[in-house]
Symmetry: C2
Subunit: 218 residues, 2 copies
Amino acid sequence: MDFPQTERSTLKRLPQRGVYDRQLVYAILDEGFICHVGFVAEGKPVVIPTGYARVDDQLLIHGSVASRMLRILKTDIDVCVTVTLLDGLVLARSAFNHSMNYRSVVVFGKATAIEEADAKLAALRALSEHMIPGRWDEVRQPTDKELKATTVLSLPLEEVSAKVRTGPPSDDDDDYALRVWAGVVPLKLVPSEPVPDPRLPSDVELPSYARNYARPRE
Amino acid sequence: MDFPQTERSTLKRLPQRGVYDRQLVYAILDEGFICHVGFVAEGKPVVIPTGYARVDDQLLIHGSVASRMLRILKTDIDVCVTVTLLDGLVLARSAFNHSMNYRSVVVFGKATAIEEADAKLAALRALSEHMIPGRWDEVRQPTDKELKATTVLSLPLEEVSAKVRTGPPSDDDDDYALRVWAGVVPLKLVPSEPVPDPRLPSDVELPSYARNYARPRE
């Protein structure tokens, strides 16, 4: 089922690139793990990058209880969270028609804090599993003190839109005769060889979830 | 010379990760080419991804004159532009100490439109060269009509901060005894084999700037 289109979530520019399909929105949110959180502080916009996870129709973000951003977001104010996956440079025959291939999601709403300890722990587990599946069960679990030092916020996926551009350049008819290379340079966030902590004993093996890290999960 | 620290640009959280060094800010802005633009529309925050370029102490963004974002930003309102480079996942021995390595820049200010035709053309050239150096001189140049259909905005780099995390995880003393792998999974935006436009004649060669695309420029 599509996300409902509200005035705010309806694309103003290039509406043909707008997508409200729930499965596509999920796929974008599940591939990314960095979002840009926009809020208004003292009347002015602030945009801060942070990690996130999606669980059903909730977007979770977290951080220190000392985080100014999280303290502000807890006060029932409007937030805009944007996730952008860059897929390539689109090289057209004219300067004007150059573009990028991308998939982005914009979520509008208000976040609420997850206060109850079990729910908070489940959210932190989801955040970890979203970033690197398999990791959570191997590491030392949060203490009560660490849980108390952490704020977890949940933003409902209610007012959501996606915008997607794919495929080759779209040139003006006359420009196709030009003898200039045109096409797409694909781009992807790629892991390289994991770097062990200098203090790691040499006989601790690299786990497969780190050796074969990939997004989306393969 | 460092960027001056204002109340707004002074990091609230983990100030030890804060950087105001001009050369480091430039290096981050010059490696990235996607920013997230935050502004307030009808009292609510909006965050939109877009391309950008840096020229001296100006950040340039552009788009269609029909873009709602650009029309709003032209009206002398506050904007926050954030650029984030993700460098890796930081796997600690405890769930709590997991982190990411990243370099981000946050710019606060007001943007102004570049209206004069020669200045606008120079800005568009800079935007193209920032995205893919060498491309501009090979493609069809903008017509007057295309120039008129394009808005270019300039945001002064005056109120700017960077935030950087590098290196291995930082674990609690007691956790170093745990037999769990710890370290960093490096991440990088990497190009793959360029994909020619289906309408490209087969004898048009792939230019080296597309074949060897890399960020930062090598």
